[in-house]
């Protein structure tokens, strides 16, 4: 029987803050951590460690409730400083003008748009995971959707900065929107740049709504835990700041309580919540496909050789998913190493699945690269053919071949099971893909612009210090926001995660249709972890994991 228990102790033990951390399980050569089962008749476990519901709550809330790990503050401060530096350079740009980018010709704004497309592309993985994988009933998404959605929001924030600052007179940015003004004119709705404004702002808004809605129940869990501790000890725990009597739990109860909107886990509420979730997934799916299509229209509707192609929308969307998954992996692989018990939720199978997505979308991107060349030759347009020959063998050959080796060649490693289940190799390939996807945008934008129709337009692109500092600053913003997310928000969708655990089924007992022999192998593996059902605080021992129903 659960009473009001000070579950802080369990949370701390599970989060590794106080001794008693459980040793890592040895990896099995065939099934890895127990999730790499190839037999399609066996459902691989989605959560490892044989945790009870209570333990899942304790672990995940522990990430935000306990003291952060030692690396957190240095990483946060470093990224915040880099972000601040980037901000200062933006200030310099606004005060001095976009001439600081060396804009004496039409190639030199390339950096800015490259960064915009790079970041907005990264932002596609989150909605893909939360929307498309939801519609496809891919239950493994529940472990990664929260962090991927967070990453999406942060990437969109970084992306939105660039068009905002490249317009020259940044204080006129409001003219991008149809706001009545003293000139009595309206924006040009036939311009793909304006479509972009609507697409990106809609995408940012809907992603934020989706993210927030998913967090409402988890905010309520954090609220209830703080509330429970406050009722046991009205003092409210240690003070947050020196000399200021603000207690951590009071603050949590207030802030998480406000954000939870009074959610109380009612079955009738869940019914509408799930309907709303499915609807949001349904409408986000065409949205996510439309956003990068519209970004590609910025190029495709122009008449510049190398840009004016109908392959752009699908090619850009595949590239966005490709780059976005790489970024998700680059963030989650270190996180699962650094946070205790995170490997129980982000298993090797999650990494393997994401690697497969990278392999597939990488091949689509590679196909698009070759098809561009084929059509340039087959179409018989000399300007088009020149643009592509110039891409591969012109002055920017190094950028082109960096892109090819990072985006097309490096993911081929994932044909090998050993590579797509090794976190180190996955991380390195993801890093390569991220670099490659940045170069893809650079190649598309710069090589087409630097040899446009008029020879007087022919210039080489050289980034200025301001260019570089603003891009590095945007990486700082991204990492800083992700650090804050890891520290203060529910990193996993707890409610969804519990719902995919075997004991969540209302028919878990009685009639189990799973293969008993194979299921027991999985179950035994889950139980291998010594004292997992840690009982000192009254949590019930979890029922043995079964193959599900």
């Amino acid at each position: 029987m659960t009473t009001i228990h000070p579950d802080q102790l369990t949370a701390q033990r599970l989060a590794g803050v106080i001794p008693g951390r459980l040793p890592d399980r040895p990896l099995d050569p065939v099934t890895g951590d127990g999730t790499l089962i190839d037999d399609p008749a066996v459902r691989a476990p989605l959560v490892l460690g044989g945790h009870s519901f209570g333990e899942v709550t304790d672990i995940i809330c522990g990430y935000t409730e306990n003291k952060p790990p030692r690396w957190w503050l240095p990483v946060f401060l470093l990224s915040a400083n880099v972000a601040g530096l980037g901000g200062l350079f933006i200030l310099y740009l606004v005060i001095t003008g976009i001439g600081t980018w060396g804009l004496s010709n039409q190639v030199d704004w390339a950096w800015d748009i490259t960064n915009f497309v790079f970041w907005i592309g990264i932002g596609h993985a989150g909605t893909l995971i939360s929307a498309i994988l939801c519609l496809l009933k891919q239950k493994w998404r529940t472990s990664i959707n929260r962090s991927a959605e967070a990453m999406t929001i942060f990437a969109v924030i970084c992306a939105a900065t660039f068009p905002g600052i490249h317009i020259g007179r940044q204080w006129m940015a409001w003219m991008l929107f149809p706001i009545p003004n003293y000139n009595a004119i309206w924006p040009n709705f036939r311009s793909p740049l304006l479509w972009d404004v609507f697409a990106v702002s809609t995408y940012g808004t809907v992603s934020l709504l989706f993210w927030f809605m998913g967090m409402i129940p988890d905010f309520a869990t954090l609220r209830d835990r703080a509330d429970r501790r406050l009722r046991a000890n009205p003092q409210g725990g240690p003070s947050v700041l020196p000399f200021v009597p603000v207690r951590a739990d009071r603050l949590r109860a207030l802030i998480y309580g406000f954000l939870s909107l009074g959610w109380r886990f009612s079955g009738r509420h869940w019914h509408r919540y799930e309907a709303a979730y499915l609807i949001l997934a349904g409408i986000s799916t065409p949205l996510v496909l439309s956003v990068h299509s519209i970004v590609s229209f910025d190029f495709a509707t122009s008449i510049l050789p190398g840009w004016h192609t109908t392959i752009f929308p699908p090619y850009f969307v595949a590239g966005a998913i490709f780059g976005g998954f790489a970024m998700v992996l680059m963030l989650l692989i270190p996180a699962r190493e650094l946070y205790p018990h995170m490997k129980d939720f982000i298993t090797l199978r999650h990494l393997e699945n994401m690697s497969k997505v990278i392999l597939t979308t990488g091949m689509i991107v590679g196909f698009a690269y070759s098809m561009e060349f084929f059509i340039a030759w087959y179409g018989g347009n000399v300007y088009e053919l020149f643009a592509f020959e110039n891409r591969a063998f012109g002055p920017y050959w190094w950028a082109y071949w960096t892109m090819i080796s990072c985006n097309v060649i490096s993911p081929q490693l994932f044909w090998f099971r050993r590579c797509r289940t090794s976190p180190v190799i996955i991380f390195l390939v993801s890093l390569a893909v991220t670099i490659g996807m940045w170069f893809e945008r650079f190649v598309i934008i710069v090589t087409s612009l630097h040899r446009a129709f008029l020879p007087s337009e022919w210039h080489m692109f050289h980034p200025s210090l301001v260019d570089i500092a603003i891009f590095v600053g945007s990486c700082g913003v991204f990492l800083m926001l992700f650090c804050l997310f890891l520290r203060f928000l529910p990193v996993f969708a707890m409610a969804e995660l519990k719902a995919v655990m075997p004991q969540a089924s209302p028919h878990a007992h009685g009639h189990d249709h799973a293969h008993p022999s194979r299921a027991s192998v999985v179950g035994a593996h889950g139980d291998r972890r010594g004292d997992a059902p840690g009982d000192p605080n009254g949590h019930p021992a979890p029922p043995p994991p079964t193959g599900g129903h």
Binding site: T2, I4, F53, G54, T57, P178, I185, W186, P187, N188, F189, R190, S191, P192, W195, F198, A199, T202, T205, L209, F210, A220, D224, R225, D227, R228, G262, W263, R264, F265, S266, G267, R268, W270, H271, R272, Y273, E274, A275, A276, I279, L280, I283, S284, P286, L287, S290, I294, F297, A495, K498, A499, Q503, A504, S505, P506, A508, H509, P540, P543
Partner: protein, 193 residues
């Protein structure tokens, strides 16, 4: 416990200390217990009651007898409103209020208006979804009698509850308690308003 009949608010149950009763809350240990208890409460003819679970349980809607939600209809209405407004905005601004000829196309040519029309439809549909869901759920509501119960707070962790409200026409303190207990409750409590 005393029962009062009042013409305006109907029946009201009051504790010995004078507090109005909100309902009876029963705790269950597993999703299966909650599922079967919900079926029993549903079949008992209750209407003003609710189950509480830390995560959505598959099939609980049917076990509770919850009908389909009207939310999809609202979202469709919201989405089409967005589509209409989005198209109307573009058409009025570029073909009526300030006619602008771009690339020799007629001012009202609809083809170029498709992307923004689509995005506006999505935007309105998304807002309708989340606002509609919250409104139908009666949220935000930061206070609720149940949240005052210490035990109830574990519904956000690993415990499962059913609360039958005293306002339910079929509510009877003894019979309702017996029903919830018979369904396997591990604890039963009165919830004061």
């Amino acid at each position: 416990m005393a029962l009062f009949e009042r013409p305006r608010t109907g029946r009201i149950y009051v504790t010995e200390t004078g507090e109005t009763i909100h309902g009876i809350m029963a705790e269950y240990a597993t999703p299966a217990d909650l599922y079967h208890a919900s079926e029993m409460v549903r079949d008992g003819g209750y209407s003003r009651w609710d189950a509480f679970t830390p995560f959505p349980i598959h099939g609980l809607d049917e076990a509770m007898g919850v009908g389909r939600t009207i939310l999809p209809v609202m979202v469709a209405a919201g989405g089409f409103t967005g589509v209409g407004l989005g198209y109307l905005m573009q058409w009025w601004m570029s073909a009526v209020d300030y006619e602008m000829v771009v690339q020799g196309k007629p001012p009202g040519a609809w083809q170029a208006f498709v992307p923004i029309t689509f995005e506006m439809g999505i935007l309105f549909a998304a807002f309708t979804t989340i606002i509609g869901m919250l409104a139908l759920n009666g949220l935000p509501r930061w206070h609720h009698p149940l949240l005052k119960k210490d035990r109830f707070l574990s519904s956000s962790d690993d415990r499962f509850f059913i609360c039958v409200e005293a306002q339910d026409p079929a509510f009877d303190p003894d019979r309702t308690r017996a029903l919830l207990e018979g369904a396997g409750a591990t604890s039963i409590e009165l919830v004061e308003e």
